[in-house]
């Protein structure tokens, strides 16, 4: 090679033979991996939309839940819609402020000290705690003493949301430039004031969108609710006491039912749930795009 290099231009074309073939195979495998994911996903979404759309109507979303034996055209999932909204909203009110404050500690006060590092590490670990464990936890510390209630369900969902909110908020606070903080200190503001009036507003787009994604995930959770709200069929507008119900719990009950009517209502509830999660996700994207001054 070195001898002929003087006369000949180096060959810059694509590698030949096995090197080219193996490269193409690798690229093809990557594309196949993606196809392997979108085909089942498309199939799931198609099934849910096809089976759910035929039953969904305003009266389906608001009517009481009938006994499982009744056919699909009777009743609806009203109490479950109400329960999901109540419980998820309460969980959001509980977990999001606490999570944001926790993240403020991590990023604004803790900095690099060991306690902040420890809390940050265990927030990450806590996101991996199975959701059913949160249900068992709230069952043992709350339900055994105070009985089933929407509030207990909200506690369990809140425990799931808390580390997610802490982590996403922490990421967003890290993106706020230090010059903003320094500028505010220079005019004599206290740390609390700087955080509340300068840092948080600067990062609010990302924080809200992270919180919305956490809410979207929590709204679809069933396992933490099984032993905390007890899944009844009657509507319960009082979220603070008495057994309640939710969309995921109803789907779970109906999925194991052998009655066609109950299964059809399950598909309708599944479509409702996916649409709710989807709306939250799109809102999160919109908020990120519209309000984020410092975000990725």
């Amino acid at each position: 090679m070195a001898v002929v290099a003087e006369q000949q231009q180096p060959d810059l074309r694509e590698a030949k033979g096995w090197r080219r073939t193996s490269n193409r195979i690798a690229t093809a495998l990557m594309v196949i991996a993606f196809v392997l994911v979108i085909v089942p996903l498309g199939f799931v979404l198609f099934t849910v939309i096809a089976k759910g759309a035929s039953i969904i109507s305003w009266s389906f979303l608001t009517s009481p839940i009938p006994p499982q034996v009744l056919p699909a055209n009777v009743g609806g999932i009203g109490p479950a819609v109400l329960g999901t909204i109540e419980i998820t909203a309460l969980a959001t009110v509980l977990a999001v402020p606490l999570g944001i404050l926790g993240a403020i500690y991590l990023n604004e006060y803790g900095g690099k000290n060991w306690l902040a590092a420890l809390i940050g590490f265990f927030s990450d670990v806590m996101t991996g705690v199975p959701s059913i464990i949160m249900g068992l936890f709230i069952f043992s510390i709350w339900v055994l003493h105070f009985g089933y209630s929407g509030l207990a369900g909200a506690f369990a969902l809140g425990c799931l949301m808390l580390p997610v909110v802490i982590r996403s908020t922490d990421e967003m606070l890290k993106l706020v430039p230090n010059s903003l903080r320094e500028g505010s200190y220079a005019v004599g503001a206290t740390k609390a004031r700087v955080t509340m009036t300068v840092v948080l507003p600067a990062a609010i787009g990302g924080i809200v969108s992270g919180a919305l994604l956490a809410v979207a995930r929590a709204a679809g959770e069933t396992a933490p609710l099984l032993f905390t709200i007890a899944t009844v069929t009657a509507a319960n507008p009082n979220v603070f006491s008495g057994a309640n119900t939710s969309l995921p719990s109803q789907i779970f009950t109906n999925a194991s039912s052998s009655f066609a009517g109950a299964q059809a209502r399950g598909w309708g509830a599944a479509l409702t749930l996916i649409v709710i999660a989807f709306i939250l996700m799109i809102t999160a994207r919109f908020v990120t795009a519209r309000f984020a001054r410092f975000s990725r």
């Binding site: 594309v31 392997l36 991590l106 991996g128 199975p130 068992l136 609390a192 396992a223 999925a255 996916i274």
Partner: protein
């Protein structure tokens, strides 16, 4: 705060008094409040351990080492958890074997192959996978997927009957709701997280490493093997471990499609049970020692997933630190 102290030497002795270290009560109160919220994470984790073990204590004390026994028969008063631990391991392994190559493949596709303009929609699709709730996967799994795949199982099953190893893995009895079905559904559910974490890790590979490999005439595959993989190996292992933790703890989908049969068998197409599924299905109607046993299975599950998550986060953090150092 540091800015205030730095300003001190510049100011004259008289006005420096004004810039004192003393902070208003509200300011300090706010700091304590945020600290309390941060500590809440640790408090909750400790409370989980204490409260659930307390509820499960009668199972641990009466059964002793028999908690790892094979037999689970509430009617006969036998509460061994081995069946469920076995089922959890089997379904998680099946899920990982399917999800990891696919996830890493998609992560490489996103970072190395497609242009940025295309990678955005692909990420949205993967995110969509994460938006589908667990219970909807379960509903689809039991009503649509299991009846469909049952035929495939039974034809594979009858095909391998009599062949030594294959028979004991894929042979009859077969059923639509089985270890394997649960593994497949779990694979779908952990793919988004493994993909996004691997992608993040792979994206941190310095561009100069890639360009260097290309400049030496490497094909894309050779570049991935030589530049991307050595750099992101640790992070991808961490991502896989996090996926494992998810697969072990995923409850509702598994509870619906695993077949709910407390048996230990090598037959992957046979109905089985795993830890979260048995808690979800039996806890509601349980009492006494059975309830304590189910709570105890929850404690074991918690301990397993915490160990895996701690290792995973450690691996991810170490590889991130090494990267920053490099």
């Amino acid at each position: 705060m540091s800015t205030v102290t730095q300003a001190d030497p510049a100011a004259s002795a008289g006005s420096a008094r004004q810039l004192s270290e003393r902070r208003p009560l509200g300011d300090r109160g706010f700091q304590v409040l945020t600290l309390a919220c941060g500590l809440l994470v640790l408090v909750i984790l400790v409370l989980i351990v204490i409260s659930t073990s307390q509820q499960a204590s009668s199972w641990f004390t009466t059964e002793g080492t028999k908690i790892f026994a094979r037999n689970w028969d509430p009617a006969a008063g036998q509460y061994g958890a081995l069946t469920f631990i076995y089922g959890t391991a089997i379904t998680a392994v099946i899920a990982l074997v399917m999800a990891v190559p696919v996830s890493v493949g998609i992560a490489l596709l996103l970072t190395e192959v497609v242009p940025y303009r295309w990678s955005r929609p692909i990420v949205y699709v993967i995110d969509l996978l994460a938006v589908v709730p667990s219970v909807v996967w379960g509903l689809w799994g039991i009503l649509v997927f299991a009846p469909w795949i049952e035929h495939i199982y039974s034809s594979i099953g009858s095909g391998v009957t009599g062949i030594p190893v294959l028979d004991s893995l894929f042979g009859p009895p077969t059923s639509g709701a089985s270890f394997f079905t649960a593994g497949i559904i779990l694979a779908f559910m952990i793919t988004p997280i493994v993909t996004s974490l691997s992608r993040e890790v792979i994206a941190t590979v310095p561009a100069i490493d890639r360009e260097g490999a290309y400049a030496l005439g490497a094909t894309r595959l050779e570049m991935i093997r030589g530049s991307v993989w050595p750099h992101s190996q640790g992070g991808v292992v961490g991502a896989v471990l996090l996926g494992l933790g998810r697969a072990m703890g995923e409850t509702i989908a598994a509870a619906l499609v695993i077949g709910s049969s407390a048996t230990i068998t090598s037959h992957l197409f046979a109905p089985g049970y795993n830890m979260p599924a048995v808690i979800a299905n039996e806890f509601g109607e349980s009492f006494g020692l059975q309830r304590a046993a189910l709570m105890g299975i929850g404690v074991l599950l918690f301990v397993f997933t915490i160990i895996i998550n701690v290792i995973a986060r450690g691996v991810v953090e170490r590889s991130a630190r090494r990267k920053r150092g490099a």
